[in-house]
Amino acid sequence: MTTAARVEELLRDLAPQVLAILVRQQGDFGVSEDAVQEALLAAATQWPADGVPDNPKGWLITVASRRRIELWRNESARRRREELAARQAPPAPDPASDVDDTLTLLLLCCHPSLTAVSQVALTLRAVGGLNTAEIARAFLVPEATVGQRISRAKRRIKANGAEFRMPPPEELSDRLAAVLHVLYLIFNEGYTASSGSALLRVELSAEAIRLTRQLRDRLPDDGEVAGLLALMLLTDARRPARTRPDGTLVPLAEQDRSSWDAAAIAEGVALISEALATAAVGPYQLQAAISAVHDEAARADETDWRQILGLYELLQSIAPGPMVTLNRIVAVAMVRGPHEALQQLAAAAAGPAADPALAGHHRVEAVRAHLLDMAGDHEAARAHYRLAARTTLSLPERRYLESRAGRPRPDAADAVDGDAGDESGRRVLGSGREDDVRSEVGVREVLE
């Protein structure tokens, strides 16, 4: 590792600690966060050249505190008055301070008064220690846009009177759910943006895994935190096999499983096994369990679809959603054959028992095309692939669906009922990507 990379790693670890100390000592999350950002930038330029100081944390706290005073002096008179008022009424000390600082910061950054994009940007900066330019590159938006989202988020936190302290126990579970959701969004942003041009982008998936690990250190008994970490590890393990050199996606069934990350799979499987055995079950754990079943199959045709179907049925009962419905139907096809699955799909997409979120959705057409292919009706399948390709908003998915639409007639063996052949039902969902889970989160966003 280069000196600059070592410094960066150190700074990212120290960022939330230094920020928490500053906010605790002097209040005002917004100004403190700006001051810490500037201290981090100063360290990132000075340390690689001059060497890391003996007490890096102390250095950052000193520089950030000085910078904070300067920022405070530069503020308008109105702001100064607010500041004085705030100083006269310092926030009550939080008893659990030393252990829970990072968790407290995460909860504040994912405050329910903020929009999802603001929660993501603020979390990456305040807890992840990324700078605005890095976040902007990661999300392919201008730096000014990210800067505005962050300052707007801070204003809103202030306006809502949100404080740097642990929420009361009765609120904790909802607030934690928001944190998990934000970490999941960060992970997926990194996971799905896997094109060649992504080389310049910050490793968002790695960052999400790092932050989720930190969260798990603080909440080791929470099943959903463990479930989310397992889900990320089990999904990220497949990354090396997921794209071809030209950037096109490789369906799960066609991936070279020998290039999957065995260590990440082992860690994910151990995590999810322990969570399922000891904690109350939740959606992230079930999604991780489904991922684990896929990862544990040495070959696509050894996939235990009965178990996957059972897990989707459970998921549908505790966290129903249109993408859960579609994924479950694909599993039905793998276990009981495409004809029954086609009937269920027809009922889910139209008619009295239909899910309105599925009406006209391109994934319905993609699943229908896949099921028709399985049933041997390749001509109809191609028409539905074309339909799905026209209405997706994802470029890689469009390429994939177009290639399926133009694909020559597959082998007859492919068209047998049930789990024959090497056809994985998952390939139709987001090009066989493992992101059915992501879509479920997306659905929850819309429906809740």
């Binding site: 929009t115 999802a116 994009v117 603001s118 938006v141 201008p142 000014a144 846009t145 990210v146 505005q148 989202r149 707007r152 997926n188 942003e189 799905t192 943006a193 896997s194 094109s195 992504a198 249109p322 993408m323 979120a357 959705h361 391109h362 997706t392 908003l393 994802s394 470029l395 890689p396 998915e397 469009r398 987001g430 990507r433 992101d435 992501r438 879509s439 997306g442 659905v443 819309v446």
Partner: protein, 123 residues
């Protein structure tokens, strides 16, 4: 999600523009400036520009390695792109809400197009 809000100029919108008083035209321009400010402030603006007249356009093509340009069109075209807002917002519903505040929507109509991305978070 990114959305492109397209403002087209066509005979109908032109006809409305011709009937506007100077004060109304000023108001129209202010509407665009204030929308740009609002979008920048909310962190939803990527970029927004108005386009010069299509008579100033160049058409570019490359044949056998040679770049060929042509001017124009000089003749009046019936419909052309007059400006756009590229926004990054939560949903199509929000993009439509934003489009409804584009001054041109009050007299004619504007078009909202989702931008393809590398992800699949499209529900």
């Amino acid at each position: 999600m990114k959305y492109l809000i397209l403002i087209h100029s066509n005979p109908q919108s032109l006809a409305v523009w011709e009937t506007m008083s100077d004060a109304q035209r000023m108001e129209f321009g202010r509407g665009h400036m204030s929308l740009t400010d609002t979008l920048a402030d909310s962190g939803e603006l990527i970029v927004s520009e108005g386009l010069a007249d299509p008579a100033l356009a160049k058409h570019v093509s490359v044949r056998e390695g040679r770049t060929i340009t042509s001017d124009g069109p000089f003749a009046e075209v019936k419909e052309h792109l007059a400006g756009f807002y590229l926004v990054d917002c939560e949903s199509m519903e929000r993009a439509v809400e934003l489009a409804a505040t584009v001054p041109d929507a009050l007299t004619g109509s504007v078009e909202v197009r989702p931008v393809l991305d590398m992800s699949t978070l499209d529900l």
